[in-house]
Amino acid sequence: MTAPRTEFSWLRYYRAGARIGFQRDIQYRTMTFVFLLAFLIEPIIYLAVWQNVAVSQGGSVGGYSAAALAAYYITWTLVRVFNLAFDPYAWEWRIQRGRLNDFLSMPIHPFHRDFSFFIGGKVVWTALWLPVAAVLTLIFRPEFNLSLFNVLAFGVAIWGGFAVRFILLYLMGLANFWTTRASAVFGVVIAGELLLSGRLVPLSLMPEWVDSLATWLPFKWTFQFPIEVLIGRLDSAAVWSGLGAQLLWAGGMGIALWWGWKKAIVKYAAVGG
């Protein structure tokens, strides 16, 4: 028999993968909405605490007014939605249940499969986020310093943050190829991310050395950077250098992932059927 004809294109593949991600998440829109509401608990606590601190300190803390903090944490919720990625704990499940075998038998890297599915899911999550953001805006009265440049740059930065975090978590997931019990390590990294990304609190409220350290790690570029771009706390030079940092992190970790995958796949034991 002759080899089957193929008309593969990456664009076509990503469109199909994103469509599946979209359909899957819209199928469970109520569950997605409940997840979204659960996400809100975290930033609302942070916001309430820091707004009180700002008021008690005469109206601002770490250069943030109460209204600026509201803008920070409302944007936080959208960035959090975009930051959702295939987490390393799921790798453990995927390998133990043999699901990875199914993906590996196909001529597409599981990374592209997952990445495209998550891209599709973002559309659903963002649509569900809009009414939530409207309610939060009415309650907390945020103050944005919007410009066309900020909005456009935010559009790039939020996807850049997603790409960096997705690749980072994927890279961590590779540990599962060496051991099927790698969860403990992930806990440490996730804790580091909480402190050094601007997720817990804007980094300008942390000691200066923490802020400096965060500049040299990937976490800040996935979280605080896109938020600050939108709320207008960065000048254009800082925006461009931040986008450059995202590109460097995504590219560097992408190369590490490519190399790590080649090593990991040799170690793969294909357990679970």
Binding site: M1, A3, P4, R5, T6, E7, F8, S9, R12, Y13, R15, A16, G17, R19, I20, Q23, R24, Q27, Y28, G98, N101, D102, L104, S105, M106, P107, I108, I265, V266, Y268, A269, A270, G273
Partner: protein, 330 residues
């Protein structure tokens, strides 16, 4: 044309951590871990010719799935070599992966929450199937397997048999030249097993695809394969025509005779398996079958006589029993 599957001295060894039970051993394992090497596949060599369907048989843990995983690029071998369509499978060349398919029973490659049609569309993009081919094959397979009303239901709402049919359709849409079927009918009822077998057979006849099949259901093997490879503890015990398997491993055949005047004592002809007044089933030594049959015909008014090979399950069981006995002797 080169053989689509060539396997040469393939070996796979797993390093498995071991420790005794008890507190003391648990603590000791924190500081020193012991490993033992388990040979899942040991120096196997075989080839499949174009269009051939081969049954790959063996008990649980024999090394069948490990071999298939190496041939589909999921596992790297410890030593040895293999080529599938000319490629070393564990290099995971995209061109090879586009031309083969792996179906594992009771596994789900389709998006669980969506209708199978959506997964088929995804497969079209993954494999780059041209629109015309995709539409033609999808319509044809859906019709052949009578899936018309099911393809729009979410996969999670389908029965196991319906899901397996969808899995097979999804696995064949890109027109694979080599098909690896690992227990494709496991857990299915007899009717569903038969439909899937017929579908695979039809695909093989129409496309000339080569098929390597593992199954614990001998009906699958008998219906599909003319040749079988029997593997146990990682080593090949038999590779040849299915018909020769019984010749080599079973010393007996089954004779069934129906006659109005059956002699009282028929045990001189062989071991009596069943006896009614007018019918007897005997197990007869293979080399004595013709002699016994002639004697029966001369001594009784025979109305029906049949000579059968023993069931394949029994033959396979004998193969493994003999291998186990040989190991015990050594």
């Amino acid at each position: 044309m080169a053989n689509p599957i060539e396997v040469e001295g393939l070996t796979k060894t797993f390093k498995v951590p071991v420790r005794d039970t008890g507190m003391k051993e648990s603590v000791r394992s924190l500081f020193r871990r012991d490993f033992k090497e388990v040979r899942a596949v040991e120096d196997i060599t075989f080839q499949l010719t174009p269009g051939e369907i081969v049954g790959f048989l063996g008990p649980n843990g024999a090394g069948k799935t490990t071999t298939i995983k190496m041939l589909t690029g999921l596992l790297h071998p410890s030593t040895g070599d293999a080529r599938v369509l000319g490629y070393q499978p564990w290099q995971r060349d995209r061109d090879l992966l586009r031309r083969i398919s792996l179906v594992m029973g009771q596994r789900n490659n389709l998006a669980w929450d969506l209708p199978a049609l959506d997964s088929f569309a995804l497969n079209q993009a993954i494999y780059g199937i041209p629109d015309e081919d995709f539409r033609f094959r999808q319509a044809k397979y859906i019709e052949t397997l009578d899936l018309g009303e099911l393809v729009t239901k979410p996969v999670r709402n389908l029965s196991l048999g319906e899901r397996m049919k969808m899995e097979i359709v999804g696995a064949l849409l890109h027109g694979p030249e080599v098909l690896f079927l690992d227990e494709p009918t496991i857990g299915l009822d007899v009717t569903m097993q038969r439909r899937l077998r017929n579908f695979v057979l039809e695909y093989n006849r129409e496309t000339g695809a080569t098929v390597l099949l593992t199954s614990h259901y001998m009906a699958d093997v008998v219906a599909l394969a003319r040749r079988v490879i029997v593997i146990d503890r990682g080593a090949i015990l038999f590779d040849g025509p299915l018909t020769s398997l019984a010749d080599r491993f079973s010393a007996h055949k089954k004779l069934t005779i129906e006659a109005a005047d059956l002699p009282e004592d028929v045990s001189r002809w062989g071991r009596v398996l069943e006896r009614t007044p007018f019918r007897v089933v005997l197990e007869v030594a293979r080399e004595s079958v013709s002699t016994v049959a002639a004697q029966m015909l001369s001594e009784a008014t025979v109305t029906d006589l049949s000579i059968e090979e023993p069931p394949l399950e029994d033959v396979i069981d004998r193969v493994f029993t003999r291998a186990s006995d040989d190991r015990a002797k050594n």
